[in-house]
């Protein structure tokens, strides 16, 4: 392991973004940190274009050190397609929530994956629509209480969609994995997933996808500690962590 990289001072500081009002215990900032560290360690800050829409991540996108495009909710995947097609030398990283990718943008997601678009899609999965007040999402797990499933999700409301496994089944996908940031081991694992995903894009192999489980204590109506326990006990069994596809050639 390269000691310098771990101990050296990063140029991009998360504290630059400290004025952002994230809720207590939100894991989005940990993912921001992963993004900033990865693009700096890979030396691609100058080439990267970050795309993200209206969601809890919108605020941080305004302050990323890269060029940024912020379309509307559900539009990011298609906008990213346009950017990458018009500017193939840019490295395009799309920051989406589970509603953005698995619901309103699901058609765009499947087709971008099918066309093997050469960009990297992140999906932060917190199991509900956090920004609008905690409604049911396609990723809400069975029994999960949300503001539109006050009695908990039951079979009459359908079942959660496992996007990372779904992506892995599509021919045009070069890389698909699911990580979490609930402990230091998973943090490092997720960071290495993001590097692999971006590398697939840079090598021009195909579509790369990384789902990241992210705790939302405010939306889940739990303390940060309870959230971590709930994620381990309930969420990870539904959404197992790991790499589902990693190929060098489609």
């Amino acid at each position: 392991m390269n000691k310098e990289r771990i101990c050296g001072l990063p140029n991009i500081w998360l504290s630059h973004f400290a004025e952002r009002q994230e809720c207590g215990g939100c894991q989005y900032p940990i993912v921001y940190r992963i993004i900033f560290e990865v693009i700096e360690e890979m030396g691609i800050v100058g080439e990267t274009v970050v795309v993200g829409g209206a969601a809890c991540g919108a605020g941080i996108l305004l302050n990323t050190p890269t060029d940024t495009v912020m379309p509307n909710h559900g539009q990011c995947i298609d906008v990213a397609t346009g950017i990458k097609r018009a500017s193939p030398e840019s490295i395009v990283l799309v920051f989406g929530g589970d509603g953005d990718v698995a619901a309103i943008g699901a058609g765009a997601f499947l087709n971008a994956a099918g066309r093997a678009e050469k960009f990297t899609q992140l999906m932060l999965n917190n199991g509900h629509y956090a920004m609008t007040g905690g409604q049911l999402a396609p990723t809400s797990i069975m029994g999960q209480i949300t503001s539109t499933t006050p009695e908990g999700r039951n079979p009459s409301l359908g079942y959660p969609i496992n996007m990372a496994e779904l992506a892995a089944a599509i021919k045009g996908v070069a890389f698909s994995a699911r990580g979490a940031v609930n402990n230091i081991k998973n943090f490092h694992q997720t960071k290495s997933y993001l590097k692999r995903a971006l590398q697939k894009q840079m090598d021009g192999v195909g579509f790369s996808f990384l789902e990241i489980l992210s705790a939302c204590p405010t939306g889940w109506h739990m303390s940060p500690l309870e959230s971590l326990k709930w994620m381990e006990g309930q969420m990870i069994p539904q959404f197992p962590l790991g790499e589902f596809k990693n190929v060098d050639q489609l």
Binding site: A58, T68, V69, P71, N72, D78, T81, G82, S87, N111
Partner: protein, 366 residues
């Protein structure tokens, strides 16, 4: 010598786009504009361009947004239901102020309506269509040659104002075949697209750029420039007023001493022109004002004619949309009547408004 070719109105869009330096197309199949999609699929790859067939018109419009955000000239084309699907994306592009060109080859509606011609998107196109109140420049050609020319103008105006420009064609213009002179137009020079995104290392000043569909919501130095919501509204308003002042275009035919003035655009303007020729032979003083920009609309010239005592006949293949603009222009000072889609010659979707029917209406009014 200028090259002359024989093409459909739909193919003329492609030739116009290439002449304007547009090498990026995103689109989804929908009748009656498929020849445009197929033209780009055939012609762009051999010119080093990019053709993507999207999964829906929602996809096309957002891909257009992304491509144009990098500073390239890009286009999408659609019709009927596809135009409806694009509205949310169009509204986002209006907020983000990204220069885009969209072609709407109108067909009959509402709903899936017919797959043939119609002129039923006029209000949707000129009034914004999507959420939130914005203005698009709308160019309305009436011949294959004009489609070619106005497609080039569309790209110039989009870049000039960082705004959407819609080319409003229709099923008949799109399908009809006419000779086309391939003569590219030159326009005044435009500033470099310093706002475009691509990656920091390509910017001379090394500073980041932000293109966002939520301008005005959150301040972001140095781009975009609006510190708050009111500043965004003021800037958009200023831009829209500038377009209204600078970009009104129209064509007149036999209008100088006309007592009856037909107002029409697109295929019905061609039909009306034929009727006017026939009526003039019978000594009737009839002429035409044809808006080339459906927005900004040529209110002034119509108002002047109304003040001079002319009567107006609006010919359009809808239940009455353009007629609203004409009524607004004359402000009650002149009689305005409508010859609309109910005057089609055939009860099926083949029906169209024919010159004989327009002539009949002229004779009635004379």
């Amino acid at each position: 010598m200028t090259e002359r070719i024989l093409v459909t109105g739909n193919e003329a869009v492609g030739w116009g786009a290439i002449a304007a330096g547009c090498l990026h197309f995103f689109g989804y199949p929908v009748t009656p504009q498929n020849e445009i999609t197929e033209w780009f699929a055939r012609e762009l790859p051999k010119r080093g361009g990019c053709f993507v067939q999207s999964q829906s018109e929602t996809g096309s419009i957002n891909m257009l947004f992304g491509a144009a955000a990098t500073g390239v000239r890009a286009i999408t084309t659609t019709s009927g239901p596809g135009w409806g699907l694009m509205q949310e994306g169009i509204s986002s592009i209006a907020n983000a102020e990204v220069p885009c060109v969209i072609v709407n080859v109108q067909r009959g509606g509402p709903g899936a309506g017919t797959t043939r011609h119609g002129q039923m998107d006029y209000l949707s196109v000129t009034r914004g269509g999507g959420q939130g109140g914005y203005k698009n420049i709308v160019l309305a050609p009436a011949s294959v040659q004009e489609i070619y020319y106005l497609t080039q103008l569309a790209f110039y105006l989009a870049d000039k104002y960082r705004n959407l420009v819609i080319l409003l064609s229709d099923g008949i213009l799109g399908q009809m075949i006419e000779p086309l002179e391939l003569r590219s137009r030159s326009f005044a020079p435009l500033p470099e697209k310093d706002w475009a995104i691509k990656g920091l290392k390509w910017h001379k000043d090394g500073r980041r750029r932000v293109v966002m569909a939520m301008q005005g919501l959150m301040p972001t130095p140095p781009h975009p420039p609006y510190a708050n919501y009111l500043q965004l509204l003021e800037a958009l308003n200023k831009k829209y007023m500038m377009m209204e002042k600078e970009e009104v275009r129209y064509d007149t035919f036999e209008a100088d001493n006309a007592e009856i003035i037909i107002v029409s655009y697109g295929y019905t303007a061609r039909v009306s022109k034929e009727a006017i020729v026939l009526a003039r032979k019978e000594g009737i003083k009839v002429g035409m004002i044809r808006p080339i920009t459906a927005w900004p609309f040529p209110y002034q010239i119509i108002r002047e004619k109304a003040l001079n005592g002319a009567k107006f006949l609006v010919v359009e293949d809808s239940l009455g949309q353009l007629v609203e603009d004409v009524k607004m222009a004359v402000q009650g000072m002149a009689e305005v009547s409508l010859l609309g889609a109910l005057a089609r010659h055939d009860p099926t979707d083949v029906g169209m408004i024919l010159p004989e029917r327009v002539l009949e209406e002229i004779l009635k009014g004379a």
